[in-house]
């Protein structure tokens, strides 16, 4: 298949040896995630091992589109393996980061990396095209992620400064490049086996969710550096360029001939929501900055600042803490990146302050801590807290296990999950969007293994109408039109009722199809082909023809131009179904049963707050017409959700009593050998 280089690097840290796998063997799984799951299935013989067991196998995968000019798909990296973050079981899981690592790996001639075993002493992996070395990392251990990367850049560049060319190897005909190596590494948090340790690449690209920072730490792997001087062979370069221009001409804001000229305020709001080009500078910072994007991405949702603080950060790490000034908040953002701490779990820091104010936490209290909570809201406190977590000092010893496990250690877990004081609806992950309202998100998460973190439907169905109502603006399109557009684009089901978020709609058969579509779409197009979540799928676009986005046309158009295949959008959904079944089978072997797939108590008992943007405006079909409706006051009905689960399992061909895949379902997607393994372990679903 075009787009891939043909080989995957296999590294055994225990023996210090490297070898390669043929990518072609795994191409039936499509791309990044599917191949990662297939390799994990094959190489991790005992799927019940813990995250920090040397037998855990980690894959770091690219896609055929990585390193190409496919917009917003050129440099996402998919990381998989047994993660340490989830609760109560360390599920086989995934994480992902942007930047330029995936493209550089392809340019070096590798489609991915498989990491096995555990090094005796700290090491880092040095990849320069085909030259692979495991190097000792004693001098890097303990360094922050920015320091680690700078040290490796200097080493690979042989002491040259960043303006010098880097030679990939000493061979006479080897390439040279002006690029610096792409490095992904861990900070002190990962070294100290924190379950909320992150992988960090460049300034602000992190794979935080999943706990892979701690997994790298457990393997004594400080960093992977890659520099490549090759290129990616494209099946049809002209078609690829034409497709890119097709997006530019039809779906991007044209400064010379704008279709939509809102006020600055509306433009800023919409750009903030719809990630228009230059988003990074439209939502600029307190100091001069310029736009920055992942390699090959025209959106440039990030920025680089004059001071360098918060460079490339644009996600949750920007929101976890408000310091005494915007500039200090930028510095607080950097703390997470430098120490390599998962930003999403750190959102819960306000919970700690509540415990302090309740008199439960503090010097000599039930939860003893000498952190200066009276300075909460200052940079100084943020530094104390992040350092404590990264070094496992003070309450950081408990928090390094993640906030949920810390609450358990402190004897607070049941109470705080029941009230929602600890807003963790499933699997030890912080709430993202309201689990009682935006249910394609929560249902997808509980059926999977982590917070799905997919903003696609969220932008069109939740944010656009919610913002419009809050600001007395006319929604980009009406609820009826949105349903029509989504119905057109949700191939192959094409049912507008899939986006019905009414009180009955969230338990409907149409919602079964919606959640299935979302899981299958993500497993292939988003996590396999590695189209960025912030740009795909695209349902609504005020710059597009008739307010329509480029899904389902764009996804196969780029894929086929790069690979030379003739994949349809629906083919991609089927590939996603296959990978979803493979992941589901791994979870079955890990012990997943239906009765585990229940939310925390507050989701069933505590109503969605009657607060703007917490409850949202979502499309609802009631009394024979579509309208945007308010979701405040909702709780999830336990019985109706259980009934919905039964219908979902049946739709997937899984055993409704256990939720496990059946032989028929697995045979249907070419995974008969997986069914055999489930049967050997008494984990195969009954038909």
């Amino acid at each position: 298949m075009y787009g891939y280089t043909g080989k995957i690097l296999r590294v055994d840290l225990t023996t210090g040896t490297t070898s390669s796998l043929d990518t072609a063997k795994y191409e039936q799984y499509g791309g990044g995630h599917g191949i990662g799951s297939a390799i994990f299935w094959e190489l991790c013989k005992d799927k019940t091992v813990t995250a920090y067991d040397p037998r855990n196998v980690i894959t770091v995968m690219t896609s055929p589109l990585s390193g190409t000019l496919t917009p917003s798909a050129s440099s996402r990296t998919e990381v998989q393996g047994i993660g340490s973050q989830s609760y109560p079981i360390e599920w086989f899981t995934r994480s992902n980061f942007g930047g330029r690592f995936a493209a550089m790996l392809k340019y070096a001639g590798w489609d991915g990396i498989v990491i096995e075993g555990k090094a005796k002493d700290p090491v880092w992996l040095d990849i320069r095209d085909g030259e692979i070395k495991l190097r000792e990392a004693a001098s890097l251990w303990g360094l922050l992620t920015n320091e680690t990367q700078e040290e490796i850049w200097r080493y690979v560049g042989r002491g040259s400064d960043v303006t010098d060319w880097v030679r990939a190897s000493n061979a006479r005909d080897s390439g040279q490049t002006t690029q610096r190596p792409a490095v992904v590494c861990i900070g002190p948090a990962g070294e100290n086996l924190s379950r909320i340790g992150a992988l960090v690449h460049d300034g602000g690209n992190s794979a935080g969710q999943g706990g892979f920072g701690g997994v790298f730490g457990s393997k004594n792997l400080k960093a992977i550096s890659v520099i490549g001087t090759g290129s990616v062979t494209i099946a049809d370069p002209k078609a690829l360029m034409s497709a890119r221009l097709w997006v530019q001409d039809n779906y991007r804001y044209d400064v010379n001939d704008p279709k939509w000229e809102p006020s600055l305020e509306n433009q800023a709001l919409l750009t903030m929501l719809a990630q228009g080009p230059g988003y990074g500078t439209i939502t600029a910072t307190v100091e001069p900055s310029r736009p920055h994007g992942c390699l090959g991405c025209p959106v440039s949702c990030r920025r680089r600042t004059q001071s360098g603080h918060s460079n490339e950060s644009m996600c949750v790490e920007m929101a976890y803490y408000a310091a005494e000034s915007p500039r200090q908040t930028l510095r607080a953002t950097d703390l997470l990146q430098h120490y390599g701490v998962n930003a999403f779990d750190m959102l819960t820091n306000g919970y700690l302050r509540d415990l302090y104010k309740k008199g439960v936490l503090g010097p000599g209290k039930a939860i003893d801590s000498s952190l200066s909570f009276e300075k909460f809201g200052t940079y100084e406190f943020a530094e104390q807290l992040v350092r404590a977590v990264a070094s496992r000092k003070d309450i950081g010893a408990a928090l390094a296990e993640g906030f949920l496990r810390a609450a358990k250690t402190w004897g607070r877990l049941d109470e705080d999950l029941a009230t929602g004081a600890l807003p963790y609806p499933q699997w030890g992950y912080h709430e993202h969007y309201d689990p009682r309202s935006e249910i394609e998100w929560s249902y997808g998460s509980i059926l999977g293994e982590r917070d799905i973190n997919e903003h696609d439907i969220n932008w069109a169905a939740y944010w656009m109408p919610t913002i419009a109502v809050a600001y007395k603006l006319k929604p980009t399109i009406s609820a009826e039109e949105l349903a029509r557009v989504m119905g057109e684009k949700l191939v192959p089901y094409n049912d507008p009722m899939m986006v019905n978020y009414s009180k009955d709609g969230i338990y409907s058969d149409a919602k079964v199809k919606m959640v299935a579509w979302h899981r299958h779409y993500s497993r292939f197009w988003k996590e396999g082909a590695l189209y960025c979540d912030w740009a795909y799928p695209s349902f609504v676009n005020p710059e597009g023809p008739d307010n329509r986005g480029y899904t389902p046309d764009a996804e196969p158009k780029f894929w086929n131009a790069v690979t030379g295949q003739n994949l349809t959008f629906a083919d991609g959904i089927e590939l996603g179904r296959k990978v979803w079944n493979l992941d589901r089978s791994i979870w079955a072997l890990q012990g997943r049963t239906r009765d585990m797939e229940v939310f925390s108590e507050y989701v069933y008992k505590v109503p969605t707050p009657d607060v703007f943007a917490v409850a949202g405006m979502l499309p609802m079909y009631e009394n024979g017409k579509w309208e945007y409706g308010w979701t405040a006051g909702r709780v999830l009905d336990r019985d109706r959700f259980e009934d919905w689960k039964t219908r979902y399992y049946k739709f997937e061909g899984w055993d409704p009593s256990t939720g496990r895949p059946t032989r028929k379902a697995l045979d249907g997607v070419g995974l008969g050998f997986v069914a055999d393994e489930l049967q050997r372990n008494n984990k195969l679903g009954t038909e």
């Binding site: 709001l269 929501l273 959102l347 306000g350 302050r353 969007y433 917490v614």
Partner: protein
Amino acid sequence: MADLAEPTASLIDKLTGEVGYDDRLIAYKVLGSSGATRLSLYRFEELVEFLDVPDGEQLLIRGGHAYLPGIDPAELQRWVRDAIGDTELAAALAPYAHDGEGVALRLRSMRSLLRRRWAQVLTAREMVKTTPLVR
């Protein structure tokens, strides 16, 4: 918009103090990337800072930190009246506390009043620094 009388010394103490756990104000920082994050506000100044309702200008200034403040306007007004004890400000906030125009626009109006009160506090504190006998 209503005028606000200069705050008394005792009111300034309330406006610069910190309420207890039971009197905290629940709010949500709502950001596209992270969704709604619940937090508790314990000081009046925190509310002023929190209520940074973005508009075009604010997005340009606050950048990636720009978030939508998820807060119930009625609850906000009650908190100012009962927990902080600023009845005059609470009365000025009352017209915006209940149903009306878009909630973000109402919060923006409330923000103006809160900022005005906080500016009075800062001015008074500065005067205290330079002429202690004012109190």
